[in-house]
């Protein structure tokens, strides 16, 4: 497997018995995340059998079906709870969860904050496209104020969640934000999220032209990638800009990196003591 690159590498990890084509629209960011995830796993040299991808429901949730790992496509919002069971049962496995913004922060919001608080050793990739893609473009907890969607035809009035702040406050060990425009950085964030102990979150800004872009004055998917390019700002640079001048910029980078042991490590240490191992 050593020197394969690009598409060749991707093919190494795709399921050959899966009926393609995939469900993603042209220009969807979710496919780029899939590529990044595969490169990260390959880069870390993880054995396929030792990786479990757990996905929620939404366009993002479909990602799991295409890759040749242990894959579980769960119920809407609940992926982290299934992942918690898998990680507690198989603490040596790399459990990676793929969720949408609606999936993780609306219906699954409670599970997200508690997975972070509990510090269970799974890595959560939150594919944030600011909208409910699969159900046809209703607003999500991250739809920016003023944006249009099927359920906010006059513009969103509610505030939106900042995924990074939410997970940081809830106690996650590792919190990062990347984008599908900046894939090399994204690869390294996913790798770091996987290797860091405890609960890790990587929020990934991933455009949905079909459901969000068309209603919000983007002319093409390419337009959305240009917007990402100009908005997403490395954390250090973002902090150096005076608050009044930040405008639409979104900070990206690693926000939290702690090395507290994951719940599963602590549990099995305690169990070993109970069983007289010490």
């Amino acid at each position: 497997m050593a020197d394969i690159k690009g598409t060749q590498l991707i093919h190494e990890y795709l399921r050959h018995n899966k009926k393609f084509p995939h469900v993603f629209c042209a220009g969807c960011g979710h496919g780029i995340v899939l590529g990044s995830l595969i490169r990260s796993i390959h880069g870390l040299g993880l054995a396929k059998d030792n990786v479990c991808i757990v996905a929620g429901i939404g366009c993002s949730g479909r990602l799991a079906a295409y890759v040749d790992f242990n894959t579980v496509h769960t119920t809407h919002g609940r992926a982290l709870t299934f992942a918690t069971g898998i990680k507690m049962a198989k603490p040596n496995m790399h459990v990676i969860v793929v969720m949408g913004d609606g999936d993780s922060m609306a219906i699954g919001g409670n599970h997200l904050i508690h997975a972070a608080r509990r510090n269970i050793g799974v890595t959560a990739l939150i594919l944030n496209n600011n909208i409910y893609g699969m159900t046809g473009g209703q607003c999500s907890p991250t739809t920016p104020a003023g944006s249009y969607s099927m359920t906010t035809p006059m513009g969103q009035m509610e505030q939106s969640f900042d995924c990074v702040e939410l997970c940081t406050a809830a106690g996650a060990n590792y919190v990062a934000r990347g984008s599908v425009f900046h894939v090399n950085k994204l690869d390294s964030m996913i790798m770091e999220g996987i290797t860091n102990p405890g609960f890790g979150v990587v929020e990934i800004l991933s455009p949905c032209f079909t459901q969000y872009g068309r209603k919000n004055k983007f002319k093409s998917p390419v337009d959305m990638y240009h917007a990402l390019k100009s908005k997403v700002t490395p954390l250090e640079r973002f902090n150096a800009i005076p608050e009044a001048e930040r405008g639409e910029r979104v900070p990206s980078g690693v926000f939290v990196k702690k090395d507290k042991p994951g719940l599963e490590e602590k549990f099995y240490e305690m169990a070993a003591r109970c069983q007289g191992g010490e």
Partner: protein, 383 residues
Amino acid sequence: MARPKKKHNKEIFALGNEAVVEGALLAGCNFYAGYPITPSSEIMEIMAQRLPTIPNGAFVQMEDEIGGLGAIIGASLAGRKALTATSGPGFSLMQENLGYGCITETPLVIVNVMRGGPSTGLPTSPAQGDVQQARWGTHGDHSIIVLSASNVQECLEMTIEAFNLAEKYRTPVILLIDEITAHTREKIIIPNEDEYEVFNRTLPTMPPEWYKPYEETVRGVPPMPAIGSGYRFHVTGLTHDVNGFPTSRPDEVREFNERLFRKIDQFLPDIQLVEEIDTEDAEVAVIAYGTVARSAELAVKQARALGVKAGLLKLKTLFPYPRKATEKLMYKAKAIIVPEMNMGQISREVKRVNNGQVSVRTINKVDGQIITPAEILKVLTRI
């Protein structure tokens, strides 16, 4: 399960809820996740103490019952024997994931210690109001196995049974207990290892490249490897083909759904557990389950003493509903009495089987009190 011989066994004085834990551990349960709720909480509390002391045991308290069921599904897919326990409101929250357990054919055991309802209802009073919820609570058409227990010893035995059926048929199994049995303390006998059977899911024997996770087998139950054991396949709540990938092709969808029913319907004699007391010559028969079956047993004895040819069919399996055992009673009896702590959730099944042949009388009580032997005796002696 053979009734254990006393002198070789450990006798303990236990609550119904404690007996559930003992049964689960004897059956090989090594994973618990859940959320506390009266009157089931002791099951979770004792599991929190016991599981860390057994090799490979694991326990997590989740943020809600949805998470509890999600976590045990994950653990079961990863090869564990997993349990959760709850009561009515928590059971309602579990319903979506219960359907996921059915369609993905994941062995699970869910104990529901029923309390009065609807809603938060009567948290510490007994009821049998979740019988049809256990059968039909989740969306979609599906088969399911629902068991019950009527005393503390049965809590232990039926929990072992629940794990065995779950593993054998790759399906969620629900054990319904009512608050009285859960909170009654009685002497029970812990069987020796050779006195009960433990069934484990069938593992695949073919090489991973040949394995099809949802392929038809003679028993209708495909072998099930654990996540991380070298067999990499897709698990999804979407209707899937034999390879585990989503499909909407009518022929594949039909075959899949029919197999889910068939794998259980083919083996009814193995699944439909009942106990018959004085039924051979019974002219009036009581059909009861849970704590009410205990009242009924005494009422039947008292009626016999008064010269009434009474009998009891105690249901240990509620679903698939034991039709054969019920029909057999109806050939002989003039009348059937169904006492329940609900407005008629099993008598509905009895009437369906009966189809107008004999008179079916119901005794329904929904005041948070048990149905007493005297109340059943009164009806028995008046028929």
